[in-house]
Symmetry: C2
């Protein structure tokens, strides 16, 4: 994923799209491998997009497709692909109809939202009409979270979904320092699962959430059994 | 910034450190230029860190410095620099004293938290003792937000702070489509400021927050005057 916008790097806006995309990809069985956040710099956006689209099967972008001068994503994506920017006729039609129906003027600024690289197909925006677009393996979507989410829902049925990654979370009342050693041993003995360990700190003491992930139910069950036995053993050692 | 952890990419954990770092850097007058999020893959972490530390003056990392098997950041950072990992004597002493004072066993897992690349200096952790570390221009910090924040506060006084970027936010009751054209003109006429335009959508209609940023107060005032005049003009045009 590539999240675009000076406001994300200045702290003015706290990103909400990365976590949402991560959730949706995990549910769909698609591994999110990397996220980058860059500012509103055309060359930086284009170079980063070229790196990502050549490295990964799918790339999703957020931000920079509105009607103002700082919305430069369509131009940067076109530059990355070496394509011209056009006013996409279907996008113009949708926007024109929408503003006409609301009795609003179709200003040149609003018309900017119909601009896409030549050959792009549109991504529906059921929230506020102005579409995103897809070019090859790149999905260009809005930065406003409600619109980003709606666009992602629009494209999700078209994606090559994988076998969903299943996960099982186990609450562990001990800190990582108590379980790190036996957990490392369990991870070694169960190579078909990925075991994550997430410390929680309530201000006084640490506890841990242990998450076992795999595409194989049996492997999760086996690893969970080993973790549960380890927790019983740790409890006994602490009590004794 | 480099945020590290499978849990950020799976959606299980929603990052809170990027926004915090962005806020603190902006206050300190340091421009945050890029953020990357990668999973718990040693080569990916090392390669990404090498790219970032050669591209930017400062790099901050979050995550992967706890006591469990999936905490591999110290090893990955050492690999990036071509250094050995050692048990940092001062870190061992701090951890040992801490666990002794709490009557807790200093397990091998807990001892892992003293591991740093050779030559690293420690970053204080007033929250939960286990330190982060600095190596050259790279600051390696925890992923737990309260600890990340405390470590960042520890290192902030040592950073070469810049002239803080000032910003002025103007609420605009119109959507970007209404103001995009005149705002583009204002941005062109005021090259010493950066004008951001952030759409808000309340479910029914759009409004906009216009933010003018500069290190020069006079330039902000001049641009703000032009934006305010434009808003009055827009209001009049809509009423008329």
């Amino acid at each position: 994923m590539l999240a675009i916008g000076d406001e994300l790097l200045s702290g003015r806006t706290k990103d909400k799209n990365i976590g949402h995309l991560a959730d949706v990809m995990t549910l769909a069985g698609i591994d999110l491998k990397e996220v980058r956040i860059v500012g509103d710099e055309p060359h930086m956006i284009a170079d980063t997009l070229n790196t990502l689209r050549r490295s990964y099967d799918l790339v999703f972008t957020s931000g920079g497709i509105g009607p103002t001068h700082d919305d430069i994503t369509a131009d940067a994506v076109a530059a990355a692909f070496g394509l011209q920017v056009i006013e996409h006729p279907e996008a113009v039609a949708r926007l024109e109809a929408n503003y006409a129906s609301r009795g609003m003027e179709f200003t040149p600024a609003r018309r900017r939202m119909s601009r896409t690289p030549q050959g792009a197909s549109l991504i529906d925006n059921p929230v506020s009409v102005a579409p995103g677009f897809r070019l090859d393996n790149v999905f260009v979507m809005a930065g406003v979270p409600s619109v980003f989410q709606a666009m992602l829902a629009s494209v999700l049925p078209t994606l090559p979904v994988g076998e969903p990654l299943k996960s099982l979370a186990l609450a562990c009342p001990f800190g990582e320092g108590d379980i790190g050693d036996p957990l490392r041993q369990i991870a070694k003995e169960h190579p078909n699962v990925v075991i994550g360990s997430y410390p929680k700190f309530d201000g006084t003491r640490y506890s841990t959430e242990i998450v076992i992930r795999s595409r194989d139910d049996g492997a999760i069950t086996a690893a969970a059994g080993a973790v549960e036995a380890m927790l019983v053993e740790t409890e006994r050692a602490k009590a004794g």
